[in-house]
Amino acid sequence: MVGPTRSPASPPTAAVPAKSRRPTGQFRDVWRRYRRNKLALIGLGIVGLLVFLAIFEPFLTPYSPFEQNLLNTTAPPGNGHVFGTDVLGRDMLSAVIYGAKLAVIVGVVTVLASLLVGVTLGAIAGFAGGATDAVIARVTDTFLAFPLLIGAILIVRTFGAGILPVIVALAIFGWTTAARLMRGQTLALRENEYVEAARSIGATNSRILTRHILPNAIAPVLVYSFTSIGVVVVAMASLSYLGVGVPADIPEWGRMISQANAFLRVPGKSHLWVFPSLAIVLTTLGFAFVADGLRDALDPKLRGRD
């Protein structure tokens, strides 16, 4: 079962037997396993950078990301604009940084909202079983069979373009996987002896769920949520690219890329779409690496599987 670790960051000698150490908290344990994975550390760096950009956006943007200068549009990088300027003469660097803020906010809020719905429904379905489970399962199936983008487009179209409609739309169609994961975990855990023990001393169902099952079931859901932040960022960009996401004047990565459409094959104008595309790719990769690292760190038994 325990093969050689594939990570180049951990030569066999580095694998100090954990038992010889003094007892450590679970968090330190997870972190010790996490930092062995180089890609996971890179991912953490990218995510950290994004969060940093999101928080300090007003102090980091050299220009206002909304300020247009129609006399200086689509200027190539240089001349005071490190990433050049866009079709409306806005500073691209500032717009990309603002886009990072938007991506982080929408990604995190959407995933938190879908976790709230998914984890609650999944836990209830798995714990209650019977008719409740069947009803929740059919509802989940319906939303799961709905392609995410198509569903989101329908919702955003109904409520109009904007950041909140995008979040609501992506959350409505994004909770299903969390619900399934949580249901499976709850089903497996509810038969455990410690759950029985809790029940025997008179714990209520809600206490058993929140204090005994949830903490033990949450690991795979947590891993999944990091991957899905990347999915949400791409989905938001796709919506904006299609023209149904955030309003046109807000610097959002997908919107920036779609505005570059007309300049696709114009020489010297590739900065219009290369920088926002790179931002999206880096963001997805960052969250995917963190999710991979977390998966291995949270459950050592999974190590080495792809």
């Binding site: 509802v139 069979a145 392609p147 569903g151 487009i153 329908l154 890329i257 999206i280």
Partner: protein, 310 residues
């Protein structure tokens, strides 16, 4: 087996009904398609006549029941723009999407399975590291960025049609299908390669492979015949589900390449607020996903007899 299929079919029907209800509510919430909007002024009498012609003057539950009743006779209504039966629009576009989906899946399998096998057989070699690194990176790239790069670099080059497309110019199908198929396949192929590598490695550790080697079979036979069959099972499952999504229409990719499939049809219907088309395409997409996942489940039990359908 028969019981399982029947139960899954009943579930699928429920999913279709639920999805149709969702689309109906979304279309209703969007508002009157025939009223005045901005610069387009419609006299109230004409708007009312239009609503009556399309049955929108009926109460919503009745509209829904009528639609569902018609659905089972193949009547999907009439579209708002060209007054053509929606089923005709589907018949025109579905073959294009099916072609795109199949070409994409073939590219997907070819690249993904080959790369996965090489990586697993030559574990820790340069090729393995290359496959692992490239597939890890490719998974992070959104399809629409790939599509964008392909349009920027290759559309209009050689046989590939220029985007934006001119639909008065007929092009051979393989020239318009290749770029979008490649854009769709590349991320999926990365997934398949990872899946293939993992499952092949697991199979190669099993006893019957050791037996096959012990009795002196050539390595080609051990890998190509004994190991490949069993390690394909999870890959086939993944590909089946993925094919279901593709058959339902890839709205972004078809939109970027202006490929005349159901995805692009939906793309335009949403822009033009063409509710009957939106509803029909969504039902079609959901149906494609549901049917393919049913087929995958059945295939799974057939390929791996240890799995019992219940």
């Amino acid at each position: 087996m028969g019981k399982f299929i029947l139960r899954r079919a009943a579930q699928a029907l429920l999913v279709i009904i639920g999805a149709t209800l969702l689309v109906f509510l979304a279309n209703f919430a969007f508002g009157d398609p025939f009223g005045s909007t901005g610069d387009r002024q419609v006299p109230p009498a004409i708007a009312a006549a239009n609503r009556a012609a399309f049955g929108l003057d009926q109460p919503l539950p009745l509209q829904y029941l009528t639609y569902m009743g018609n659905l089972f006779t193949g009547d999907l209504g009439v579209d708002y723009n060209q007054n053509r039966p929606v089923i005709e629009l589907l018949i025109e576009t579905v073959p294009n999407t099916a072609r795109l989906a199949l070409v994409a899946i073939v590219i997907d399998i070819f690249i993904g399975v080959t790369a996965g096998i090489i990586a697993a057989v030559k574990r820790y070699s340069f090729a393995d590291v290359l496959v692992t690194v490239v597939s890890t990176l490719a998974i992070g790239i959104p399809t629409f960025v790939i599509g964008f790069v392909l349009v920027a670099t290759l559309s209009g080059v050689g046989p590939f049609p220029t985007v934006p497309r001119s639909f008065t110019v007929e092009v051979p199908w393989y020239t318009e299908v290749l770029l979008p198929a490649f854009a769709l396949a590349i991320v999926d192929a990365a997934f398949v390669a990872r899946l293939m590598r993992g499952s092949m490695l697991e199979v190669l550790r099993s006893d019957y492979i050791r037996t096959a080697r012990a009795k002196g079979l050539s390595e080609r036979k051990v890998i190509g015949k004994h190991a490949l069959r069993n390690s394909m099972i999870p890959v086939i499952t993944y590909i089946g589900v993925s094919l279901g999504g593709l058959l339902g229409g890839a709205i972004i990719t078809e939109g970027i390449f202006q490929y005349p499939g159901v995805g692009y049809l939906l793309f335009r219907a949403i822009g033009g607020n063409n509710a009957p088309v939106i509803t029909a395409v969504v039902i079609f997409s959901v149906l494609a996903i549901v049917v393919l996942s049913l087929i995958v489940d059945i295939l799974y039990a057939y390929l791996d007899p240890r799995i019992r359908l219940s």
